[in-house]
Symmetry: none
DNA sequence: TTCCGTCTCCTACTCAGGTAGGAGGCGGCG
DNA sequence: CGCCGCCTCCTACCTGAGTAGGAGACGGAA
């Protein structure tokens, strides 16, 4: 019994982030994506997701109105609002529109996943505890765990991704991993293709915004 | 009871600046200088300073490793890290290495002096969290009030920086700000110079790791 | 065994990004 | 007034990044 998810956000990087995050979860499936409100309403009607991850700020139709229309057509749907801001003035309006909960785009991944499951279960998720990032994660195990939370990418691609996210150049990455920079380029091309990103700059933004390699080995 | 200081920085201008600044303080004395990490370790061993003002980026041996070695040899020494605006990873690593605090090279003089005295007294100074908050605070200064450019970047450069941090290309930034992409390039060159960064990728990492523009208007 | 995915490396090419240097306009300040 | 900092824009140039396409090696799965 998997949770069917629709991701509606106008930033492709955000969508890519969620795709990547959710791909690692066997019980969650992204059945469609939308880059604006109208598209979200349309796809919700056609794919009948259990949960809609909905950005508020979107072209064509904002997330609030989209939420109203989706719920008007399908009151079994659950909408989880994505916000950047802690103190969003839209919060109350979104609740009135029928949203089931809120998540911050830069909440830790586990929290996002938990939020999706809770909402899919029919419960409301009111004001997720805005846990401040704990910075002091000094002691950290290198990388013994085989299953990385991020799927799609191969192990080697993840290695490269981590180094990209730290601002390293291709040559530096090559030195770090003991491979040539042409090989690094190959991996990067694959990473960008898989995540639908334009260049390494977007990859860095994605990595940091999703808190991907957060408490990594420095 | 004067505080004995060792200044370790590869830029002679910086050393000269500290020399001049500290010369005016009766209770502080610069007992030695070093232009690289090895020299710093050596001089620390020979002069036994109370406080080492340590740059991170130095030839031969970087400030982190130099810090470790100095503290291994003399655990009464206190190391104050000098940073222009460095990446967080350095901050954590420096703390792990045993540094007692951080100062920005362009902090106001009184602050630098205060930092030296505090650290000499055995107390730690400015947790990274506080540093972050401080930095984030004045970069978030409201638009109309042109504040003293303590942090070097002009308002326009800050505008560009924010957009870089979101992964935009030069052309996109130009469109967003209604300026040509050559102008964008000009600003970026200045930003990179001022913050001592290699390219926009490092700028993105810096922005995110310091939480610079976190509650930004997307 | 064959096939496939992964990892490695290569050439050749295009293009965005960054540097260097100059220049004009504008507003504030001594 | 003149100077200076900021913002704007330009040309010319060089390099790193990314694409395209191919290839060999290895190990696991069918």
């Amino acid at each position: 019994m998997t949770v069917r998810v629709l991701v509606a956000d106008d930033q492709s990087m955000v969508r890519a982030g969620f795709r990547m995050l959710l791909a690692g979860e066997p019980d969650i499936e992204v059945v469609a994506e939308a880059s604006n409100g109208l598209e979200a309403v349309d796809k919700a009607g056609r794919f009948h997701p259990n949960v809609v991850l909905m950005d508020i700020r979107m072209p064509e139709l904002d997330g609030l109105e989209a939420t109203r229309r989706i719920l008007a057509a399908d009151n079994a749907a659950r909408v989880l609002i994505l916000t950047t801001f802690d103190l969003d003035e839209y919060v109350y309006e979104a609740l009135r529109a029928g949203a089931s909960g809120f998540v911050l785009k830069d909440d830790p991944p586990e929290q996002l996943l938990a939020a999706i499951r809770v909402v899919a279960g029919g419960e409301a998720l009111l004001s997720p505890a805005i846990t401040k990032r704990v910075i002091a994660q000094f002691t950290r195990t290198p990388r013994p765990a085989p299953p990385p939370a991020v799927e799609e990418l191969t192990q080697r691609e993840l290695d490269v991704f981590r180094l990209i996210a730290r601002g390293l150049s291709n040559a530096e990455i090559g030195r770090e991993l003991y491979i040539s920079d042409t090989t690094v380029k190959t991996h990067i091309t694959h990473i960008l293709q898989k995540l639908d990103l334009r260049d390494r700059v977007q990859a860095v933004v994605l990595a940091h915004e999703t808190g991907l390699f957060e408490a990594d080995g420095r």
